[in-house]
């Protein structure tokens, strides 16, 4: 099969949801506006943003759990609109997910053994012996004892469950894993363990991640590229290496200011940050960040800035950059 250099490519994707307000009036709001991105093999893309910015929706689009209103999604260079069922099935297993809450993402009535084998039977082959071998090997790799195979999820701790969720994703040898807030339900010391594990897999088997998170240190730890979203739009894309040495979108600067770094030298709390993310229902016509921007101009209210290339390593959607 001919392979594209990108695992996933998203072109000008729009996604809206309808909500019914109290008076049965339908209202439409856009979760994603004209979003494009590419994920190469072996790369980690970290998405940063506040709640309601569309980062989880973007993850669902990549996983093909949601269909976009407009725009195209490519898996390994194949447009999902025109892909044959057979091809779709063979590619489906290459993109997997690990979700935030390991308490609800594992079936409580299944033993760990069955949780791990189910995707293997469906996507790889119906061979219990080989499947179990693989399950044991993966459990070993994620740092779990083989005894858990016969346990139910309730017998495991949060960190152990997240390891099982990761092993389940790895059972079908994927190329890309969508990680939706993989550590935010975990304790600090457990978070460090899981992050290290994820980094190891990336380095050893060249796994790619699409990491969705609201935590700056987590995104910095794993990502090669950092994408910042605000109200359904990508406002900045920046390579991690240059992140600390370049100027950013006003919203990125705001996030950096709001982050409380326990190791920074100067105390925060300068009262520069005001307001909160407006509702997606009443989206302003111009720049999405207009209402909170410190550097806004008149034109920002009329026109929405496009994501512009600053150099090979950075893209910003702002008129002033």
């Amino acid at each position: 099969m001919e392979m594209s250099q990108f695992l996933v490519e998203i072109k000008n994707v729009w996604k809206s949801y309808e909500i019914r307000s109290f008076w049965f009036k339908k209202q439409k709001f856009y979760a994603l506006l004209d979003v494009s991105l590419k994920i190469s093999k072996g790369e980690v893309i970290g998405i940063l943003g506040e709640s309601g910015c569309g980062k989880t929706t973007l993850g669902k689009i990549i996983l093909d759990l949601e269909k976009p209103d407009k725009g195209e999604v490519f898996w390994f260079g194949k447009n999902l609109k025109y892909i044959s069922r057979r091809e779709y099935k063979s590619l489906r297993s290459k993109i997997q997910a690990v979700f935030q809450d390991p308490y609800s993402s594992l079936n409580p009535r299944y033993k760990i053994k069955d949780i791990l084998l189910e995707p293997y039977f469906i996507c790889i082959e119906n061979n219990k012996k080989k499947g179990l071998e693989k399950a044991k090997e993966l459990l070993n790799q994620v740092g779990l004892d083989q005894n858990v195979l016969n346990e139910y999820p309730h017998a495991l701790s949060g960190g152990q469950r997240q390891r099982v969720a990761l092993a389940r994703a790895l059972m079908v040898s994927p190329d890309l894993i969508v990680l939706d807030e993989p550590t935010s339900a975990l304790d600090m010391t457990i978070q460090a363990q899981i992050l290290e594990l994820l980094k190891n897999f990336k380095e050893k088997i060249g796994l790619s991640y699409f990491l969705i998170s609201h935590s700056l240190p987590v995104v910095f730890y794993l990502s090669d590229w950092i994408i910042i979203m605000y109200l359904g739009k990508i406002v900045e894309i920046c390579k991690k290496e240059i992140f600390n040495s370049v100027d950013h979108h006003p919203y990125t600067l705001m996030l950096l200011e709001a982050h409380l770094d326990p190791f920074s030298k100067k105390p925060p709390f300068e009262k520069k940050i005001k307001g909160e993310v407006p509702s997606a229902l009443f989206r302003p016509s111009g720049c999405v960040f207009y209402s909170r921007c410190k550097e806004r101009q008149k034109m920002c209210l009329k026109k929405s800035p496009k994501l512009r290339k600053i150099n090979n390593l950075q893209y910003i959607a702002c008129f002033k950059r």
Partner: protein
């Protein structure tokens, strides 16, 4: 005389004899902020609730003392207690949507507190409600007082809850992870508000969190909890610049810093139902000491008012503490 004194407080399960927080002691001067740091299930929230003598069902008080402004909280009757709760000590919680009453407006909920503690006529009460809402940074208080919790955004809800807590003019505020459910740019605004109240009204705050960054910048003093007990307590600067307990060290080292994690602590927190007789951190400790296997260490003073529960800094049970 310190403003708040907690002395050998033990609180545990009602049916089994299992302490969930074990001999917790600390003192706090008026106007100080104590940060309580720890992982889930270490007893940090329970310690917060115990300062109001509120417990989840199935949990009860065993022994120890809580003195707030020289009032012994655990010797009061229920009636006396209701005069203290909300007036002397108030609490704000993590999730404002589930801790505010959905069928009452914000104004009505604040009025409840005022009715209970003060003798105001309805006009003055309304005036006071607006004052309180303004104080916590809510613009247009006349409109907001008439809104229901679901009509407010996350940030405004948390502010409304703080206004409610402040209605009784408390001197001690227990903040149980008040910013965990909030976005980054809101979190900092709420923390700024709490810091302001602390400085203007010399409000004493016990701030419970698992976020290293938040605790680092909000508190004057930090207590690190592990498996139901304090393992280290000292000024914020001391805890971050000179952490003594191996667990505190591991917490600080395991925070992703400039894209790197310096040390990864193996294992997971101790299950309190099967806690060891010796040092509770023994299993996860990198250089466990011999004594730790069977003997439970005491909290000892390692100088500069820096208390730590580890045998490496001396053994005090010889001197008879405990």
């Amino acid at each position: 005389m310190p403003f708040l004194e907690v002395k050998d407080l033990i609180i545990g399960l009602k049916k089994m004899n299992i302490p969930l927080i074990d001999k917790v002691s600390f003192t706090l001067e008026k106007g100080e902020i104590l940060g309580i740091l720890g992982e889930s299930g270490c007893g940090k929230s329970l310690t917060g609730f115990s300062l109001l003598r509120l417990f989840p069902s199935g949990v009860s008080y065993y022994s120890g003392k809580v003195l707030i402004d020289n009032i012994d909280l655990y010797s009061l009757s229920e009636k006396e207690l209701s005069k203290i709760r909300g007036k002397k000590v108030a609490i704000i919680l993590q999730d404002p949507l589930s801790s505010l009453n959905p069928v009452l407006t914000i104004g009505e909920q604040i009025a409840e507190v005022l009715k209970h503690h003060f003798n105001l006529n309805s006009k003055n009460r309304r005036k006071r409600i607006y004052e309180l809402l303004k104080e916590v940074g809510i613009s247009e208080p006349e409109i907001r007082a008439k809104s229901y919790p679901h009509q407010l955004s996350g940030g405004l809800r948390q502010r409304a809850m703080i206004a409610m807590a402040l209605a009784g003019e408390p001197e001690l505020l227990v903040a149980d992870e008040p910013t965990t459910a909030l976005d980054l740019t809101l979190q900092i605004q709420i923390l700024e508000l709490l810091k302001d109240l602390n400085q203007k009204k010399s409000l004493t705050i016990v701030f419970i969190s698992h976020d290293l960054g938040v605790v680092r910048w909000i508190s004057d003093k930090i207590a690190v909890f592990y498996a139901g007990e304090i393992v280290e307590i000292a000024s914020t600067e001391e805890v971050f610049n000179n952490p003594l307990h191996p667990y505190t060290q591991a917490l600080i080292e395991s925070y992703p810093r400039e894209g790197k994690i310096r040390k990864i602590l193996k294992g997971s927190p101790v299950n309190l139902l099967q806690k060891p007789s010796g040092c509770r951190y023994f299993e996860r400790c990198e250089n466990p000491c011999k004594e730790g296997k069977n003997i439970h260490p005491d909290l000892i003073n390692a100088g500069k008012n820096h208390w730590v529960r580890c045998f490496k800094y001396g053994n005090v049970s010889v001197f008879g503490r405990n």
